[in-house]
Point group: D2
Chain length 137, copies 4
C-alpha cells in the first residue's frame, strides 16, 4: 500500500500526464529502489560473492537512479518534460542492465532474490517506457 | 504493490527482526519519502506559498531521512542494531515534525494533500516506533 | 576539501576513465547536489516565492540527479559504460535546465544565491560533458 | 573545491548556527557520502570480499545517512533544531561505526582505501559533534 495515488489526486494544479500511468511509474521507481537495495544486500549475504560483483554494482546504480526518477516524477509544479524524459531514459537503462544481470543469476544459480529483483526492475523499466510514450504523445 | 515482502522472504540469511514488522517499516519509509516529496511540491503549487514554508522544509527533510532509513532497514547482511536504532530515532522525529505541520494545514486550511501526507508520516512514525520496540526486545 | 581523489588513487583495480576527469566530475556532482539543495532553500527564504517556483523545482530535480550520478561514477568495480553514459546525459540536462533558470534570476533579480548555484550547475554540466567525451574515446 | 560557503554567504535570511561550523559539517557530510560509496566499491573490488562484508554494509549505511544530513543542514529556511539534532546524532553513529570498521581493515589488512575512508568518516563524525555542540549552545 502506498499513498502515491492519493497524493496525486489531492494535487490542486494540472497534472502533466495520464494519472494512472504516472502513479504506476512513481510506485515502480520507489519499489525498484527498495528491491535493488535489498538485492545488493542479499548478494552480499551469499557465501560466494565473487560471481555477484556485477549484480551488486548494477543494483546499487539502479537503486540510485530509481530514487531520483521517482522523486522527479512526484513533482508536478513546474513539471519540465525535458527533465522527466532524461531521467526516464536513464532509469530505463539502469533497470534493463540490472534486470539482465539478475535474470542471469536467477536462471543459472537459481537465486530467488535475484528473480524477485528482476521482476521489480522489469516492472519499472516498463512503467518508465510507458511514461516516456505518454510524454511524447 | 511492492516487492519488499518477497525480497525479505528470498533472503537466505537470518533476518534480525520480526519479518512483518520489518516489511511494514520498509514500505512505510519508501512511501513516506514519496508522499513528502509530493507534498512539498503540492505546497509549492498553491497560490500563496508563504504560510507553507515550514511545511515544505519539514517535507524535504522527512523525505531524505525516510529514504536513508528505508535503505538501511533493507540491508540484513551484517545488520547493525546500533545503526538501525539511530536511523529509526531520526526517522521518528522527522515524521513527527512533518506530520504535525501537515496536520495543521489539513485542519486550518483544509489542504487535502497535507492530510494525505500526514497520514503517510504517522504510518511511518508508528512503523519506526514498532521496529525500535522490536529491536529492544 | 574532499577525499575523492585519494579514494580513487587507493582503488586497487583498473579505473575505466582518465582519473583527473573522473575526480572533477565526481566532486562537481556532489557539490552541485549541495548547491541545488541550498538554492531551493534560499529561494524559499525569499519574501516573494511565486516567481521562484520553477527555480525550486529545477534545483530539487538537479540535486537528485547529481546525487545519483556522483555515486554511480564513484563505483569502479564492474563499471558499466552504458550506465555511466545514461546517468551523465540525464545530469547534463538537469544541470543545464537548472543553470538557465538560476542565471535568469541572477541577472533579472540580482539574486546572488542563484548566481552561485548557476556556477555550480555549469561546472557540473561541463564536467559531465567531459566525462561523456572520455567515455566515447 | 565546493560552493557550500558561497551558498551560505548568499543566503539572505538568518543562519541558525555559526557559519564556519555549519559549512565544515555540510562539506564533511557530502564528502563522506562520496568516500563511503567509493569504499564500498573498493571493498567489492578486492579479491576476497568475505572479510569485507561488514565494511560494505557500514559504508552503504553511512553514505545514505550522510546524504540526508548534508541536505538537512543545507536548509536554513524554517530550520528546525530538533530535526537537525536527530539527523546529526544518527550521522555521528553511522560515521563512528563505519570508521571503526574501516580502521580495522586499514590496520590489519593494510587497505589504503579503508584508511582514506576512515579519515573521511572521522572528519564527518567530528564535524557533526561540533554542530551538535553549537546547536546546544
Amino acid at each position: 500500500m502506498t499513498h502515491a495515488r492519493e497524493m496525486l489526486e489531492a494535487y490542486t494544479g494540472r497534472v502533466a500526464l495520464d494519472a494512472a500511468t504516472l502513479v504506476e511509474c512513481i510506485e515502480a521507481c520507489f519499489d525498484c529502489d527498495q528491491s535493488c537495495s535489498a538485492d545488493a544486500d542479499a548478494d552480499l549475504g551469499e557465501e560466494d560473492v565473487s560471481p555477484l560483483k556485477r549484480c551488486i554494482t548494477m543494483c546499487l546504480n539502479c537503486s540510485d537512479v530509481c530514487a531520483a526518477t521517482g522523486r522527479i516524477l512526484s513533482r508536478q509544479t513546474e513539471f519540465e518534460p525535458a527533465m522527466a524524459q532524461a531521467a526516464l531514459q536513464a532509469c530505463v537503462e539502469a533497470c534493463r542492465l540490472c534486470a539482465e544481470e539478475c535474470e542471469y543469476h536467477a536462471r543459472e544459480m537459481n537465486m530467488e532474490h535475484c528473480r524477485v529483483c528482476a521482476e521489480s526492475c522489469r516492472r519499472c523499466e516498463r512503467a518508465c517506457r510507458d511514461t516516456l510514450s505518454a510524454l511524447a504523445a
